[in-house]
Symmetry: C2
Subunit: 326 residues, 2 copies
């Protein structure tokens, strides 16, 4: 089952409906659920109850994509982005002059918390952030959590994952490069936009695509201006999504509405090519570029890079203590 | 004005009231606002309206601290923790073998997003997290945002700060040290507990404590088991809180209910001493220790370190690609 968040142009800007997605291509239709149906709550319901509500929605009129604005399927209560693709780590490390994947990477799946208010809809334009000449994308698969868990068992972790969507973790590589020298990870290099969508495919719908170890194994591709520049499979993750939930929830809350993302797959970013080749090929994203990402059996997100509508000046450099104590 | 979030032992576990804090020491009383008064909404109201509601609360009966459980003043919609104290950076860098503060630190205030669901109340026990033999504290001052801003001007940034509280960013140094080798910052090293409180002091109340550059300048101290181990002043931050809001909001949403923290002040963590001296002196926190932090004109938070009630086993190491492609 595919569940989308949307509004109609006639709705108020803050309005938000949940819809059942039926059909494909030009025959695709969004069938609204009852007005108060929350997407994360639907994910947490029993399969029987969810299908009953979906049957009711399907009985009503469907809207073509041209009549709606798709919204991010969830406004996350929190967002953890992991680093689970060995080959991506290898490429990035070589770009930093390291010999390859550090042994520490294999020990446990590290992550960083992301800007939850930066999520944007699956077809929304993305504004060029300030101070960057190296705008990049990151092709990821993301799980939507539908139940609160802490110290989750494998079974609890599995039940906590309501579904999956595609994610583009837009990144300003020069900005984050300067920030990461301070050892706390990226900050402004990633907090301007994270595209998620186009909808959530429920976990039950994807059961048939697990490999022998239980890893969800879906083909993933990314193109820039219609030319494919990266492709990988989610089965190449070092840990399953259930293991990511288990790890994240050790002595910590993972709550309904939280997004847990795979991290960038191999060849799923330009920076990985830059690291491997030592040159800016393919070139950084520019205003006017279109980035399209597809995870098979889930869907496609597509975004134009546009100029910023407004910017604010940078803050001044730090006030130095030496001045204070002089 | 001091505003606390609390519940009474007779309330349901999820209940949450807002109270006006009056008096000091044994005469301190929490005067409940109307049941539906939200602390962040109160911060966003005009001073006149807030004082009118406070007068109404003050006219009612007050509860002694022994009759309530203080809660985190806010369950953050998002949390950014900065790195603004030059002397702390200097100590930590020397611990890593670096010569001192990197020049990049002075350029702009970097931050990391924190675990919003990890906040705990001002007097709550803190469970020893798994896998650590180097539990530490971090003494910080935190601003509570009460208005949504993006590309904030200096005036908008000022209006967006509703008040301030004390914060202890508990940190498992050995865990985060392993994680930070992967360059994305700490993950499990910090997502188990962040203490905030004991209440919020409104920004208007602290206007008199700004220095000539407009930086809020309040003495900060931390003690372990009654012995003071660190002290600094918030005026030693490299940027003001208004500048932190401006920086965070450049091409990014900073929303009502978000917490922006100063980062660790000088001598505000054990790790800084460990870095400067090369030895584990003072020793890492142990079960039974009591950590107490005071920011003058705001208040004191106090927490016991206790054993974990339960733990979950670690996830296995990564599934290696080499095995897949063999």
């Amino acid at each position: 089952m595919r569940l989308a968040a949307f509004r109609r142009p006639s709705d108020e800007p803050g309005d938000r409906l949940t819809g059942l997605v039926l059909g494909q291509g030009e025959h695709l239709r969004i069938h609204p659920f009852a007005v108060d149906a929350d997407l994360v709550v639907l994910l947490a319901q029993s399969r029987d109850r969810r299908e009953q509500l979906a049957d009711e929605a399907a009985a009503g009129d469907g809207l073509p994509l041209s009549d709606v604005v798709l919204l991010p399927p969830v406004y996350p209560t929190s967002m953890r982005d992991f680093l689970t693709f060995e080959a991506h780590v290898d490429g990035m490390e070589r770009g930093h002059g390291a010999p390859g994947v550090p042994e520490d990477w294999y020990l446990a799946p590290i992550f960083l918390f992301m800007a939850p208010h930066a999520v944007t809809g699956p077809y929304d334009d993305v504004e060029m952030p300030p101070d960057t000449e190296r705008l990049d994308f990151e092709l990821e698969l993301a799980a939507i959590v539908c139940r609160d868990v802490r110290n989750a068992s494998p079974e609890e972790a599995r039940d906590a994952i309501g579904g999956y969507c595609v994610m583009n973790d837009w990144s300003a590589r020069d900005v984050q490069g300067r920030e990461m020298k301070l050892k706390l990870g990226p900050s402004k290099g990633k907090d301007f936009a994270t595209t998620i969508g186009p909808w959530v495919v429920t976990a039950d719908e994807l059961e048939g695509f697990r490999d022998a170890d239980g890893f969800l194994d879906l083909p993933m591709t990314v193109s820039v201006n219609g030319v494919q520049v990266g492709a990988d499979r989610s089965g190449h993750m070092g840990w399953s999504f259930e293991q990511l939930v288990q790890h994240a929830s050790r002595a910590s809350w993972v709550k309904a509405g939280e997004v847990l993302a795979s991290g960038t797959c191999a060849s799923g970013s330009l920076a990985e090519s830059w690291g491997r080749t030592g040159s800016l090929t393919p070139p950084p994203l520019q205003v006017g570029d279109v980035v399209e990402m597809t995870v098979e059996h889930i869907g496609t997100i597509r975004n134009h890079v546009v100029s910023a509508a407004s910017t604010a000046p940078p803050v001044p450099p730090a006030r130095r203590r030496v001045a204070t104590s002089a």
